[in-house]
Symmetry: C2
Subunit: 322 residues, 2 copies
Amino acid sequence: MRAMVFDGALRLAADYPRPSPGHNEASIRVGLAGICNTDLEIVKGYMGFKGVLGHEFVGVVEECRDPDLVGQRVVGEINVGCGACPYCSRGLSRHCPDRSVLGILGRDGALAEYVTLPIENLHPVPKSLPDEEAVFAEPLAAALEIREQVNISPSDSVLVLGDGKLGLLVAQVLAPLSRKLRVVGKHRSSLAILSQRGIETCLAGDSPPERADIVVDCTGSPSGLEAAMRLTKPKGTIVLKSTVATGASLNLAPLVVDEITVVGSRCGPFRPALDALDKKTVGVRPLIAGIYPISDGLRAFEHAAQHGTLKVLISFHANLTQ
Amino acid sequence: MRAMVFDGALRLAADYPRPSPGHNEASIRVGLAGICNTDLEIVKGYMGFKGVLGHEFVGVVEECRDPDLVGQRVVGEINVGCGACPYCSRGLSRHCPDRSVLGILGRDGALAEYVTLPIENLHPVPKSLPDEEAVFAEPLAAALEIREQVNISPSDSVLVLGDGKLGLLVAQVLAPLSRKLRVVGKHRSSLAILSQRGIETCLAGDSPPERADIVVDCTGSPSGLEAAMRLTKPKGTIVLKSTVATGASLNLAPLVVDEITVVGSRCGPFRPALDALDKKTVGVRPLIAGIYPISDGLRAFEHAAQHGTLKVLISFHANLTQ
């Protein structure tokens, strides 16, 4: 099968072995898959991962022991736990120490014609939700995770740093919770997507925003935390969303002096994400920067890696490309 | 008056001007003052502070408008807020954006024969508590601050990293809260102080401890957070106590991947600290590495700066030195 593979270099494999599903797994024919910043970081060496990339997808179950699932359109959670450890028992398989993670850690990913995942990881996609929106379930779930971790009250001021893919989702997810949410970004066109939805934005470098109670770092940059520390009120909270391959020289004294709390935040709940997509409470269409056929997979990655590019999707059906 | 002054270089001033108390301030004749790691960092350039060093002291009020206070032995909180801003109104003057901080920011410190502080910053010292113990009120309050910020239940495993002055106080303060507390240090003699109090310890470099629910970084090292990230369970909490002059190259991806919370922690409540000292629930005598007369102030700093040295005190009465 065709697949986007990283094995020290990024390549489009023409004949990668098609994976066979285990007993509790499903084999899914991928319809559409997204390129995430994590994929771009893996290509720079993050996680030391080798194999098929990709962890954002929507597809159709082709083979599994549950006949009701066959033919069903699904998205899938990306962490696969051992099922037996204390984390898995508490429903926190995404923190299982022996987990594999789709396209990130010990498990081939979804930027391929077929992917396998445990049945319990799959979520049926509502019929009314098209592939190009359903494929955002995974990053939107990651944005929603913040609401599970941090209590935001309407009077809390919130700053979202970064107007990349994740920043635009996080801003939309948090905007209804706070009367004082602002997004700081570098790209007028990306910020305009939020302005059109009534969300306040400002261009980085313009008059610096006031310090906020809650600052979410979606910059994807090693220096994001430093900016966040400058912009967080004493006793405030920073939510850290960026994972990057390289470190930065950081002096963390401001965290101590200002008694700031930093909350690391990763994957989140899929059902509320599918629900928000289906109800259109979060708009994702304007985030699509391009849809490439898998045959143009390398070009898709080049596009995604360009500064300021939003979501690049790879399609496994000719009629979906644009 | 004699004072330990940093103005680009550390020196013992013989004739530093004696400060005059403002209307709401008291002038305090210092009996005993401690050297803190923050002082050693300031000498390396931290905070860009110039003036009299020192923020840990016990002394006797010699002049102030409240006659009941004159002659009273006191310790003092180190942050002086504007009194009018939202932080000050909430009792959080230690986070007032216009604050001064004793011997750290915009206010001469306590390593001098006289120091001034607002009356409201002062806490009378119980008669039964000797100077050599009362002088620990400020660092002990900083240790107690952790209990205000993080909820620790008996089943939570706790690791304290560092067996310096602060680590030994933090360990004693947190030990009663958890059935599984362990201290990782580098100095057998310091760890022995804790073992004698029934606290479990281990030497850094021996078999690495299991990951814990709560890890407190008291290493005073720029690399402390990196060690803490390795030793914290997913969804766990790191308490950051170290302020250092220099940064470190850090990759914070583990915070995001493991969804760890980092809590910056600085100054704390004085009354419970004085209470714990008076009731001897925290032992501080074994932490005293030396008491120097102010005439030997430079030698005191040299001693304090030596690796593995615990608390060095400077006395302004000849009979207290050892």
